[in-house]
C-alpha cells in the first residue's frame, strides 16, 4: 500500500534524474515550480484521503481500513515536508532572511506554515508508543488538529492562485464536506 502513496514521489525523482541527465522529462519548462506544486497537490489530496478513512470504515463496517489511516496521514506529511523543502531550496535557495520575510509578510505562506506546524505533532505522535504515552483521550484530542489543517490547506491554495480559480475551491468544498461528515461523531463525543 505504501507503493501507491510513494508513486508521485517516484515520479518526481525519476523525472529529476532524467532532467539532470539531459534526457526527456515531464517536469515542463519550470521544473522547480512543477515540483513545488506537485508536492503540494499530493499533500492536500492525501490529507483529504486520510479524513475519508474513518467515515468509510464506519459506513462499510470495515475496521481493517483504519490501518491505512496512519499511513495516509504520514504520507501526506512526507509530501508537506517535500513541499516546504522545495520552497526553501528551489525557490529561495536557503535565503533565510527572505524566507522569514515571506512567512511574516505573505498571509498564504503564514497559513501554510501554520498548517505544517499543526500537523507536525501529529506526525511525531503517530506511533502506538505515543498513544500509550499520552493516553487515548489526550491523543485523540491532539489529533483533532487535522481539522485545522484540513481547513487551512485549501485556504493556502486558494490564496496562492491569481484571480478567481475553481480548482482550489473544489478542495475547500471537499474538506468542508469531510469535516461536516464528522460533526455528528464529534458532537456525540462532546456530550458524552
Amino acid at each position: 500500500m505504501h507503493t501507491v502513496f510513494a508513486l508521485p514521489l517516484c515520479y518526481l525523482i525519476i523525472n529529476w534524474v532524467l532532467l539532470l541527465s539531459y534526457e526527456a522529462h515531464s517536469l515542463g519548462f519550470n521544473p522547480q515550480e512543477m515540483t513545488h506544486h506537485t508536492t503540494g497537490d499530493w499533500a492536500l489530496r492525501f490529507l483529504l484521503i486520510t479524513l475519508c478513512i474513518s467515515p468509510i470504515a464506519r459506513w462499510r463496517s470495515a475496521r481493517g481500513l483504519m490501518a491505512y489511516r496512519r499511513m495516509a496521514g504520514l504520507w501526506s506529511f512526507v509530501y508537506i515536508v517535500l513541499h516546504i523543502l522545495s520552497y526553501l531550496w528551489l525557490e529561495k535557495f536557503f535565503d533565510w532572511h527572505e524566507i522569514w520575510g515571506d512567512i511574516v509578510k505573505r498571509p498564504y505562506i503564514t497559513i501554510g506554515m501554520i498548517t505544517f506546524l499543526s500537523l507536525l505533532p501529529l506526525a511525531v505522535t503517530s506511533t502506538s508508543g505515543w498513544i500509550k504515552r499520552l493516553g487515548a483521550a489526550k491523543w485523540q484530542s491532539l489529533h483533532r488538529l487535522i481539522y485545522l489543517a484540513a481547513l487551512l490547506a485549501p485556504l493556502h491554495f486558494i490564496m496562492m492562485r491569481k484571480g478567481w480559480q475553481i480548482e482550489p475551491r473544489v478542495y475547500a468544498i471537499l474538506a468542508l464536506v469531510l469535516i461536516a461528515a464528522r460533526m455528528p461523531i464529534i458532537l456525540r463525543h462532546r456530550f458524552k
Binding site: N15, L18, L19, Y22, E23, A24, H25, S26, L27, G28, F29, N30, P31, Q32, E33, E91, F93, E98, G101, D102, K105, R106, P107, Y108, M159, M160, R161, K162, G163, W164, Q165, I166
Partner: protein, 316 residues
Amino acid sequence: MIIKKRQSWVESENSVTDEGLFHNRRNFMKLSGAMLGASLLSPALMAEEKRFLQALSFNAHQTDLREELTDYKAATGYNNYYEFGTAKDDPAANVHSLIPKPWSVQVDGLTAKQGDISLEDLIDFNALEERIYRLRCVETWSMVIPWIGVPLASVIKKLDPTPAAKYVRFETLADKKQMSGISSRVLTWPYVEGLRLDEAMHPLAFIAVGMYGKELPNQNGAPLRLVVPWKYGFKSIKSIVRISLTDTEPMNSWQKSASNEYGFYSNVNSEVDHPRWSQSYERRIGEFSRRKTLMFNGYGDEVASLYDGMDLRKYF
C-alpha cells in the same frame, strides 16, 4: 564602412535566426526533450497548435551575445493566456481554435482615423524589425525573446491621435467559440490593458507580429501583441482587436480583479513587492538558480525618466 550604433537597450544575440541556438545544449534543461516526455503523459499536449508559421523578413540587429535566448519550445509551451485556461500548458494545448487570419483591429476614441483596420494596413510588413527583449512576468519568471514587429509609436502615428488623447487602451479578442477558457470567471473579459501616451510613444514600446524568425504562434498572442519590456508581462497584451485613444486612465483587467496587487503602471520594480510574493528575484526559464530582478527589467536608462517625480510605490 558602416558603423552601426547599437542602442544600449539592445539585448544581445549573435545570430538570432540560427536554428542551432534554439536547441542550446548549454541550458540546464534539455527543453527540446521536455515536450516529448510531456506528450507521453499529457494527451492534451498532443493537440498542440499545428498552424504553419510563415517566416518573416525583417531587419536583424547587429549584436553580440550577452544573454541567451529562451528556448523556443519554452517560449511557446509555458504561457499565461487565461482565455485558453489557467495552467501554463493550457494555451499551447487549446489555441488551435484561434483563427488569426483574417484579422482587423477596431480603432476608436480620440483619433482622426476610426473604424476597422486590417492587420496589413495597420502594420507595415516591409518595415519589420527584430527586438530581443527580456520579458518579466509578475509571477517572477522571465524569458529572453526575439520579437519581430514595428514600434508602437509608428502604429499610433497612423491612427493620428487628437491633442486631447492622453492614454492608449487595448482589448484582446474575447470569443467564446475560439477561446476555450472564456467561460471561466478568473478575469472579466475582454482582457484590457493600457499605457500612458508617452509610454506608448516610447521607442521601446513594440507591436510584435512574430518571434524567432516566424509569425507569432497563437499562444504568444497571434496575430499581433504589445511588448512593453520594462513592465510586468501581463501588460504586454495579446491578440489585439481594439485600440482606443482616451483621456482617462484605462482600467486594466488585472487591476480590476485585484487592485491591491496589480496597478496600472506595473513597472518592473525589485523594491516594491507584490503583496503575496517578493519581486527581488526571478527565475529565468531554463536556469536552475534564480536571478536578481533589475529595476525596470534592466531598461531603466531608457525609461526611468518617464516616471520622474512619481512615487513608484504608490503608482505600482
